[in-house]
Symmetry: C2
Subunit: 278 residues, 2 copies
């Protein structure tokens, strides 16, 4: 609560920056210059942040099909021309080689470390994919007055590997990874209503209650992220998660691939609210 | 399954009529003439059926406020002019005194029996209210491929009196009555999405899972309707129910009031699909 008694909406996680991080163009400029290397949560609030996947062209068509067939874990916001490190529909001045604060490099499907730019790794056959991210729908939930616990805790949302098989495409295959947010039942219903309006950022939940029904043996232990806190009277609500394509990447084993480092996202000029349907 | 292997969508409950019950004007004509005295479920499929509440004018303003303040259990579709037994926005030829197959008469808030018409009871100060009914959203659920169990069983949906207090208005007050339909979690999510589009017929669920959290001590025993069948892997999903105003009627104790007899609804010329928002 602030001094006037109204609830303050917090960004997740609040970034420790001593500059005005509200403008996405300024955020990318600082990242590009090396002045910001941290997480992007809480920066450019109101604007879409995206998952990045970069693949050689020989894998790009298969991955595009994987996204098309699995739009809930892999909602494709934009796809680059081969060799062109730009996604003009997301930001006019964007250079994908320098404008994310940290990149994760994969060789033969295995993560081999993080780098601050990929200018020296860029190949003329690279195709970049930007996928919607839960930050957008979490912002819509918070704006509607719902409490997203891990925003308030400053933690990372718990994620689980389920037994839900994604539709395979070529060498890409994965079980679905889900993120979990606990809500009282009435808020769980509101969360379904709100996130249904955002199919391009994972959309409605895929499951709620009954974690064992989607192959989660122990809800108390997260597969990735922080272990959950579920209060009495709360239901676990599960959304398809953008970590799913990273699992598919391990299966496909391309000689090289690049993603964002978790929580170090592609900041775009597209407003979250503009993605709403209905 | 029918002979071609596709699933047959059934109306609830299928009426035993030997005439074409698809036209709402014909349905009302047969009811008016006394040729049909049975339930209305399954008749005039695709058209809105409504709950009826008729009250003396001295109670009408308070009841209108009760509906306005509690739109989920009491979604007000139409309200008559005092003394006029017509609701032209629902049907041009409608006579509320004769066009329902059965009416329930209340004296001082207590049900005193059912009658086939209310022509001799009608008062010059009567005001009629038509409230949305779950038949409309159940049809939308079935049309979307979901299984509404009590349709298939030919039974009556289980209802429960909760500890959720409706907002009172004058002499009208009630705890909320809810109806319950069980669904697997993924279908429960779809049911939230679908019924959210129909706020004028109860709209989205008010609760799911955790019946004890809304004061339902024993989910196995319905307060009204048939006891439920909840299969393993199904969640109970609860909607605000149109029986709630009948409880409020008992509290208000008007000297006389009339409702439809349960399952013997007001058949209108308004298409269910026309109520959809978004």
């Amino acid at each position: 609560m602030n001094a006037t008694g109204t609830r303050t909406v917090e960004a997740a996680p609040p970034p420790a920056v001593d500059w005005d991080g509200s403008d996405p163009v300024e955020v990318r400029r600082r990242i590009r210059s090396g002045a910001h290397r941290g997480q992007t949560g809480g920066l450019a609030r109101g604007y879409v942040q995206a998952n990045l996947v970069v693949l050689p062209a020989a894998y790009a068509d298969e991955f595009a099909r994987f996204c098309q067939r699995n739009p809930k874990p892999c909602p494709l916001l934009a796809m680059s021309e081969p060799g062109r490190p730009h996604l003009p529909e997301l930001a006019r001045d964007l250079d994908l080689r320098t404008d994310l604060p940290s990149y994760r490099v994969y060789r033969d499907g295995e993560a081999k470390g993080d780098v601050a730019s990929i200018g020296d790794l860029w190949q003329s056959d690279f195709v970049a994919f930007a996928l919607g991210c839960s930050f957008s729908f979490e912002e819509a939930l918070v704006d509607a007055g719902l409490t997203v616990r891990h925003w308030n805790d400053g933690g990372v949302c718990p994620m689980y590997l389920t037994d839900i098989e994604c539709a395979p495409a070529g060498r890409f295959r994965s079980r679905m990874v889900v993120s979990m947010r606990p809500f009282p039942p009435a808020d769980a219903i509101k969360a379904v209503q709100i996130t249904s309006r955002y199919p391009r950022v994972h959309g409605a939940p895929v499951h709620l209650g009954m974690p064992e029904r989607i192959g989660i043996a122990d809800i108390e232990r997260a597969w990735e992220g922080d272990d959950p806190v579920i209060a009495p009277g709360e239901l676990p609500v599960f959304w398809a998660c953008g970590v799913t394509p990273q699992v598919a990447l391990r299966a496909a084993r391309p000689p090289i691939a690049v993603t964002h480092t978790p929580a170090h996202m592609l900041v775009t000029d597209v407003r979250n609210a503009s993605l709403a349907v209905g």
